[in-house]
């Protein structure tokens, strides 16, 4: 297989699967979904290997070429994000099969209507395709389209839960739409100034003009809203906390990373010539505030899913601490590893929350006595993903934080280091508070068991988050061979 065909597979499989799942309807949607997930994740992993061997490359769709045609391009940074999406996406798909089967059984016994649950599949595959398109895009407008695909399908997925999720979806939509409008105005300004939408050309032509700064500011504001960085995070906890478990997992683990990825592209690459020190410091400061604020909020939550959602707010902050440290060696590797292991551990946590909900019928933290005895695999998954999120060794979260910490200390910026360490303690406080309940004796002997597929996938994901401890070196090699910058 050529590297181009890996790329075609990565992009086309989920989009095609989404359409097929929609046509096939209730009966075959999940089968198509799993099949697509297998093909899509295999393609994205294959693409990552292709990049690690052959370096970054471009691909003119249909042979048209820029500016009229659409150019796809992939480099190491994009390849890492794609592979992350592929692996976590596959696990989410497997989990979802078990999840919806369990829901159906429940609905059949209680004769309630759960709504068109099969619609999960077309929307989820569309979301996946949108994310892949975003990572493969090489120009600003394509990115806009991909952002909208991600946004619309994400909103649909949230709304699937009904009830209070509807308002959360609506809030997400309004903010997301406003964000993308700001982004597109910025794109216009850049096009007016430099007559190109291509990221590579833009990087070469860019200079520090007022309109460029305005464009950069507008785009950044839009993307910050989408990536839920403090103080624009308020839409995230209700949306992620009320959605169905596989949806929360996908949104919290994968979708929030798209905004971060674009900001990394823009500020560390395209806009680098603007002289961006105060901007990166500003982004880092917001990140630090997010770490502390999200952590304190998570500590006060009484529902497990809301707590995990607030934890996402905090963990996004960690990623943004990359910006002020980007000039130090190893920081990009560290932040990327942090992003990847967060995707794994956060998806696993939301899956655990879903399994807990399935067994207990609620997710009030105070009443989760004995979930360790009732569902040992879920408890193990919860523990392992907590270790990674807290940043305790050995785990991907630890390795990532270590690199950021070293970067901060090598640069003499001990205040970033202090925030990194403090945030870890906060994370420990809210996660271990829950974990302690696993060791109590169960109060009620629940006869329901979570489907095995659910418990097992969460454990596998959590295990991967731990194993990421050893991914630092390959990741470092990939970034330096594949030319991320």
């Amino acid at each position: 297989m050529t590297q181009e065909s890996w790329m075609e597979g990565t992009l086309a499989a989920p989009l095609l699967g989404a359409v097929l799942a929609l046509i096939a309807g209730r009966s075959a949607a999940s089968a198509i979904g799993i099949l697509t997930a297998l093909v899509g994740s295999a393609a994205s992993i294959g693409l990552a290997f292709a990049v690690s061997r052959g370096g970054s490359f471009r691909y003119a769709v249909g042979g048209w070429g820029a500016p009229l045609g659409i150019d796809l391009r992939v480099d190491a940074l994009a390849a890492v994000m794609l592979a992350m999406t592929g692996v976590v996406g596959l696990c989410i798909s497997v989990y979802a099969v078990g999840y919806f089967r369990g829901k159906e059984a429940e609905a059949a016994s209680s004769r309630t209507n759960t709504g068109p649950a099969w619609l999960f599949w077309p929307m989820w595959l569309m979301l996946w395709g949108g994310m892949n398109a975003l990572y493969l895009s090489g120009d600003l407008f394509n990115i806009y389209v991909a952002l909208e695909v991600v946004g619309i399908s994400g909103i649909g997925l949230i709304a699937l839960a009904g009830g209070s999720a509807i308002a959360a979806a609506l809030r997400y939509l309004l903010l997301g739409l406003a964000g993308s409008l700001l982004y597109i105005v910025g794109v216009e300004l850049l096009y007016a100034g430099y007559a190109t939408l291509d990221l590579e050309q833009l990087r070469q032509r860019i200079d520090a003009q007022p309109s460029t700064w305005l464009a950069a500011a507008l785009m950044t504001a839009g993307l910050l809203a989408k990536s839920a960085l403090f103080p624009l995070h308020f839409w995230l906890p209700p949306a992620h906390g009320h959605a169905l478990a596989p949806v929360s997992a996908a949104l919290s683990a994968l979708v929030v990373k798209t905004g971060f990825y674009l900001l990394v592209r823009l500020w560390l690459d395209v806009f680098a010539a603007l002289g961006t020190e105060h901007v990166t410091t500003f982004l880092g400061a917001l990140g630090a505030a997010a770490v502390l604020w999200g952590g304190v909020q998570a500590l006060q939550q009484e529902r497990l899913k809301m707590m995990v959602a607030y934890s996402t707010v905090a963990q996004i902050g960690y990623l943004f601490m990359l910006f002020p440290l980007a000039s130090m060696s190893g920081s990009l590797t560290g932040a990327l590893l942090l992003a990847v292991s967060h995707a794994m551990s956060k998806a696993a946590l939301f899956m655990c929350a879903g399994s807990v909900l399935a067994v207990y019928g609620h997710d009030r933290i105070q009443s989760l006595q004995g979930f360790g005895a009732l569902m040992p695999m879920t408890a193990a998954a919860f523990a392992l993903s907590s270790i990674s999120l807290i940043g305790l060794p050995p785990s991907g979260g630890f390795a990532g934080k270590w690199m950021l910490l070293s970067a901060a200390l090598a640069g003499g910026a001990w205040w970033w280091a202090a925030i990194i360490v403090l945030g870890g303690l906060l994370t420990a406080a809210y996660l271990l508070r829950v974990l302690a309940f696993a060791f109590l004796e169960p109060v009620v002997a629940s006869s329901t068991r979570a489907p095995r597929a659910m418990e097992l996938t969460s454990l596998i994901l959590a295990g991967m988050a731990i194993a990421m401890n050893f991914a630092l070196l390959p990741l470092h090699d990939l970034l330096h061979a594949g030319g991320a910058r």
Binding site: G330, P393, L409, A436, F439, L440, E441
Partner: protein, 498 residues
């Protein structure tokens, strides 16, 4: 020739044992016990091989790159061997004991799984070849001992677990900062006898003093240095084998061992002296010794009294490290072993009392010597050893610590040692008096067993460790005795003559 397999197997064996045990059903008692015993005794054999190899000049080591300039390194040196031998022997003892102790208890697979993982972490700490590796395993130890502390699943156990985590995680955070900072400052360095920081000379003095403080604070949590000792007495809610493991082998020793590494192999004892950090450390250790002893006087609960005694005794090691001189070094190292033997004996006998008669408090111990003569004999050995009565192991320690202090001209240390021994006598002798010379004053709180003394499976490990403690005192100078090893380490690693 460097052989990578032996250290890998030494670390991997308890890890795999733990993982397999997790997967077993609680009812598969025979298989689990077999696995446990296999793990423990295979480890003993492995340690024997390493001892033999190192004596014959073999070199065991392995490293794995995590990132550019960041390695996980395992290396077997004499100091590592001292610790790993201790842990292997005591692991085997405690395993046998725990199988008997937890008969018919709930969640045994979970318990023995984490128990094995604790040994995995301890082995990692012992074999760590650099500060980063040490830190990684030190944190793993925190994580895998937490479930043991909260094992009983009561609210009280959970509260104790919370305290334990508060101390250890906060310590871990400080440690992370310090280790990363030192790594940024000095680059990737392995432990080396005499330390590697003296190259800095007079540069970065303030930073280095600060980092020394951070490291001691981080490792001092597990070593229960005052004022970081608060978790230890609280953690006594754990089952007896855990208390024995936590207090004699894994946790507190890991802290003390790490401090030895920091002082000798990172900073270098002479460089640390020139930074002026050893004096305050010695004062802190001395204060902890006296403080722990005073607190032990007032505790009526047997395990808590023993816990405060641990707080006090572990600081002997640190005191020996902080007093400059070869003799006090030997004293510190030999106490690492001796205190382990004595304390595990004491905790296991306490477990026997609780398990057989339901005796948890000192005031309930009247006449217990006649009811359980063998157990109390072992207890007596442990207690007298702690006080420093020859020929039991504790005497050797105090002798060397005292001579070391005299050699260094630090007479106040001897005063501390004498005072502490008096205090030890004050809190141990009344127990012995009650047990042997008082008639039974009240019915036993919860007598579970009619026959002679305790169950054999509980009795044998206790007697064995007591015998070891006596042996370590009498045969201190025998080849391969702990004292001999301590002298070897002292001469090999620190360049002092024996």
């Amino acid at each position: 020739m460097t052989d990578p397999w032996i250290p890998l197997v030494a670390v991997g064996l308890p890890f795999l044992t733990g993982i397999v045990i997790f997967m077993l059903d609680d009812r598969q008692v025979a298989l689990r016990s077999l696995l446990n015993l296999f793990g423990a005794f295979a480890k003993l054999v492995l340690v024997g091989v390493m001892l033999w190899g190192v004596v014959n000049g073999r070199d065991y080591g392995v490293r794995l790159a995590i990132a550019p300039g960041l390695d996980v390194a395992l290396h077997v040196d004499a100091l590592a061997l001292l610790f790993i031998t201790l842990s292997a022997v005591l692991w085997a003892l405690t395993t046998v004991y725990a199988i008997g102790y937890l008969e018919n208890a709930a969640h045994r697979s979970r318990f023995f799984g984490f128990f094995s993982l604790s040994i995995f972490a301890t082995t990692g700490i012992a074999l760590a070849g650099n500060l980063f590796t040490l830190f990684v395993f030190y944190e793993i130890l925190t994580l895998v001992t937490y479930p043991l502390v909260v094992h009983r699943g009561t609210q009280k156990a959970l509260a104790a677990g919370r305290v334990y985590l508060c101390y250890t995680l906060a310590g871990g955070a400080v440690l992370l900062l310090a280790v990363a900072w030192l790594h940024a400052l000095a680059g990737p360095r392995d432990f080396v006898a005499g330390g590697y920081l003296r190259e800095f000379g007079t540069d970065h003095q303030f930073t280095l003093i600060l980092l020394f403080g951070f490291l001691i604070a981080g490792f001092g949590v597990k070593a229960a240095l005052f004022p970081l000792h608060g978790w230890l007495p609280v953690a006594m809610v754990a089952p007896a084998p855990v208390s024995a493991l936590l207090h004699a082998v894994a946790v507190v020793k890991a802290g003390a061992f790490a401090i030895i590494r920091v002082v000798y192999d990172v900073f270098g004892v002479e460089f640390a002296q020139s930074l002026g950090v050893l004096g305050p450390l010695a004062l802190l250790a001395a204060f902890t010794i006296l403080y722990g002893s005073f607190r032990a006087l007032t505790e009526d609960e047997l395990k808590k009294r023993l816990a405060y005694s641990t707080v006090s005794q572990v600081s002997y090691i640190i005191l020996g490290v902080a007093v400059l001189g070869p003799l006090s070094t030997i004293g510190a190292l030999v106490h690492l072993v001796n205190q382990g033997l004595l304390k595990i004996t004491l905790f296991l006998t306490a477990g026997n009392l609780a398990e057989t008669l339901g005796v948890h408090h000192v005031h309930e111990m009247d006449g217990v010597g006649r009811r359980m003569p063998l157990t109390m004999t072992a207890f007596t050995v442990g207690a007298l050893g702690m006080i420093g009565v020859p020929p039991i192991a504790g005497f050797v320690t105090k002798f060397y610590l005292g001579s070391g202090a005299a050699q260094a001209g630090q007479w106040w240390v001897i005063v501390v040692l004498v005072a502490s021994s008096l205090l030890n006598a004050c809190y141990f002798l009344p127990i012995l008096y009650r047990a042997w010379f008082q008639p039974q004053s009240a019915p036993w709180p919860n007598e579970k067993r009619e026959g002679f003394d305790a169950k054999a499976v509980l009795l044998v490990p206790v007697l064995f460790s007591a015998a070891l403690a006596v042996g370590a005192g009498i045969f201190a100078n025998a080849p391969f005795g702990p004292l001999e090893w301590a002298k070897l380490i002292s001469s090999r690693e620190f360049g002092y003559g024996p």
